[in-house]
């Protein structure tokens, strides 16, 4: 067997393994970067200037030689590193970012309750986005409703960002087993998406995300140990990837063609309570 033939065989084997591998990641973006926006987000009408960046909700899984295992203790470090990188990257696009920390949330029971309700509602919509149509965002299909509007009002921001991250790292045993063909190859890696919910509509106006290319690879992707060891590097990479298609705060993009049934938005600015109640008194008076 010549050296060249052996090299070719190795390359073909690697390619086959890559093609045959199933992604262990589940999300909207399974490769590279991705984005979806409503027309109003594209044309600046509903482009937020201030964004509350919520703490990321992440799931960490180690793909072992025989089974997979959820990791809990390791999430805190990665989530903090991700928040640092995301704050930096989103701010660089001109947005004013109000980052929420767990300490801040823990000290404010009202904020904690609002956050919990908004996260719950967001996750319900996110499940549909992930499982079915991400393009629905363009058509204003997904509403997080009053829960997110209350949160945004409480925080005094135009929009709230809900980051969701998934990390699937291989163990050494798993990589060996995959390499020897004794285990079904599952492509691991890091993917992250964040939806932006506007305070005025309560709808998911945009979603940005991506897969960290440095975290994927043959035989189950980068090892879990390596991800934890170089958390800052990997989190910076995923943050950079995910905002790559996010427009700058003041730059309008070409609107997309929307379907004819898209409903017209009715938006109100902050209401002057006294004026409204006085006027209504006249309109409803005597009845």
């Amino acid at each position: 067997m010549t050296k060249q033939f052996r090299k070719g065989l190795w390359a073909a084997g690697t390619l086959l393994m890559l093609l045959g591998s199933q992604s262990a990641l589940a999300g909207v973006c399974l490769w590279g970067e991705c984005s979806e926006m409503t027309n109003e987000f594209r044309t600046l009408e509903l482009r937020p200037k201030t964004i509350a960046l919520l703490p990321a909700r992440s799931t960490l899984t180690q793909d072992g030689a025989f089974n997979t295992e959820s990791k809990v203790g390791e999430t805190a470090g990665l989530e903090d590193a991700l928040a640092n990188s995301l704050e930096k990257e989103i701010s660089a696009l001109g947005y004013s970012v109000r980052r929420l920390t767990f300490d801040e949330i823990g000290q404010d029971p009202q904020l904690s309750a609002l956050l919990s309700a908004a996260n719950q509602r967001y996750d319900e919509e996110y499940a549909t986005i992930v499982a079915f149509k991400v393009k629905g965002i363009r058509y204003r299909r997904y509403s997080v409703g009053e829960e997110s509007r209350r949160l945004a009002k409480y925080l005094g921001v135009d929009a709230v960002a809900f980051p969701r991250m998934q990390v699937v790292g291989a163990s050494s045993g798993s990589k060996w087993m995959s390499g020897l063909g004794m285990k079904e190859g599952k492509a691991g890696g890091i993917n992250m998406e964040f939806g932006l919910v506007h305070a005025r509509t309560g709808d998911i106006e945009a979603l940005f995300g991506g897969v960290s290319k440095s975290s994927t690879g043959t035989f189950g992707g980068v090892s879990f140990k390596k991800i934890l060891k170089k958390a800052d590097k990997y989190m910076q990479d995923i943050a950079e990837t995910s905002v790559r298609k996010m427009p700058k705060v003041d730059k309008a993009l070409k609107p997309q063609k929307l379907d004819e049934e898209a409903t017209e938005l009715v938006l109100y600015d902050d209401v002057d309570e006294e004026a409204v109640l006085d006027d209504l008194d006249d309109l409803l008076g005597g009845e």
Partner: protein, 433 residues
């Protein structure tokens, strides 16, 4: 065999009550060999994550109740890695769970269901027994070894063993230990011993299971997705009843009424609100109805009205259908609005919508009859008329709501609607209507 041993322990402990319990001796053997490290480590990591993510529900009044009951029933254990502590989680489902190192979590939905502290004691004692008898560690060992041949054979031999499931709530989840049926039976028996020692009637354990079996949420058929099936609960209740019947009369006949009542109004309101927020109005309605008969309070009629309104064109059996969608992996196919539209388009949809709206109006009016300051009833009527484009009625009810609920969180949103109502009424006035 284990059950038999435990029944003996119960009889022994009751027979020589003073001798066994006053010395605070542990009836639980310490962990004998084997590695406890992984599951205890994970339990501690979960605790840190729960704190970090604000999963624990901080409510001093409720925490005080739970702590008071727990203090009386928690057993003494020789294992140094176990340190019992009880926390609350805001979740409308009637559940409690524990982790290997002694953390016990109680859902607010459970507190809303249980009638008295004796029933709460029984639930806490059941969880405490799982911890003290190292059930988490045993379940974890089984889970870890089932991937290899020895574990596979062990799993086959133990036909009752169920696999671990994820506990999902409020967007958070963790792997919850799931015990074999035998472990649950044993924990039930253990709970009787623990609550008897504390002076609660053992029959409270049977009553707690009976209440949970009849619960609108737990009576849903979730197929294999459920780890606490109705059949299992029925069997547990039957076995518990047998144990209680076999106990000496002086212990079995302690009246459950001596325990302080639970079911605080605030917790019930919270539970029904949470169900509606989670788009489970059918369960909210059934739960409100189950309480109204014994307690016709204005707040329950408010909740009933809101549940009917949230149901819209959907049937009250909606949750059963949702449960089957979850099993089939179809729940995420449509958004809430799309599900509403789907049901409205079905045969009988418009009639169901009319019925639910009419029922909501009746319930809100009953709430106002019982309490003229029933702010939520006015808001409910406002929402209902607004959806029907009856802006005049909506405006009147919203204004009443704002006057009654001066510090409500949703004030800005009600004002937005009033702004819209003002525009519509002005248009109508100009058109001479």
């Amino acid at each position: 065999m284990r059950i038999a041993i435990f029944v003996s322990i119960i009889v022994l402990s009751l027979g020589s009550f003073q001798a066994v319990w006053s010395e605070q001796a542990s009836i639980y053997a310490p962990l004998d060999g084997g590695s406890k490290a992984p599951v205890v480590k994970v339990a501690r990591e979960h605790e840190q994550q729960f704190v970090r993510r604000g999963i624990r529900f901080n409510d001093p009044e409720l925490q005080q109740i739970v702590n008071r009951v727990a203090e009386t029933i928690l057993p003494v254990v020789a294992d140094t890695f176990i340190n019992f502590r009880v926390y609350l989680i805001r979740d409308p489902s009637p559940a409690a769970f524990s982790l290997a190192d002694g953390q016990i979590y109680v859902h607010t939905g459970l507190l809303a269901r249980l009638e008295n502290e004796a029933q709460l004691a029984a639930v806490l004692a059941h969880e405490a027994h799982h911890v003290a008898a190292h059930h988490h560690i045993e379940a974890d060992k089984l889970r870890r070894t089932k991937g290899n041949i020895v574990g596979g054979v062990a799993t086959l031999l133990n036909r009752n063993a169920r696999e671990g499931v994820s506990y999902e709530s409020d967007g958070r989840y963790f792997a919850q230990s799931v015990y074999s049926d035998d472990m649950d039976f044993e924990a039930d028996a253990g709970s009787i011993a623990l609550i008897s020692r504390a002076g609660y009637a053992p029959v409270a354990a049977v009553q707690a299971l009976q209440r949970l079996r009849q619960d609108p949420e737990l009576s849903l058929d979730r197929g294999t997705a459920s780890f606490n099936t109705l059949e299992l609960m029925a069997e547990r209740q039957g076995r518990l009843q047998e144990l209680v019947d076999g106990m000496p009369q002086q212990y079995a006949n302690v009246a459950p009424a001596d325990a302080r009542p639970l079911q605080l109004r605030r917790v019930i309101e919270m539970t029904i609100d949470d169900y509606i927020r989670l788009d489970r109005p059918g369960t909210a309605l059934k739960f409100a109805d189950s309480l109204i008969e014994a307690r016709p309070d204005a707040f329950l009629y408010e909740a009933k009205g809101e549940s009917h309104f949230a149901l819209g064109p959907r049937p009250v059996e909606l949750e059963q259908e949702f449960a089957s969608w979850v099993i089939a992996g179809k729940r995420a196919e449509k958004t809430r609005e799309e599900i509403h539209a789907k049901y409205l388009a079905l045969e009988g949809g418009p009639e169901r919508l009319a019925y639910n709206l009419e029922s909501a109006v009746t319930a809100f009016n009953l709430a106002i009859e019982l309490d003229e300051n029933s702010a939520r009833a006015y808001r409910g009527l406002g929402n209902l008329h607004y959806e029907q484009n009856d802006f005049r009625q909506a405006g009147r009810n919203y204004v009443k709501y704002l006057k009654l609920a001066t510090d409500s969180m949703d004030r800005p949103f009600v004002l937005e609607r009033l702004q819209h109502i003002k525009i519509e009424l002005t248009k109508q006035k100009e058109a001479g209507q």
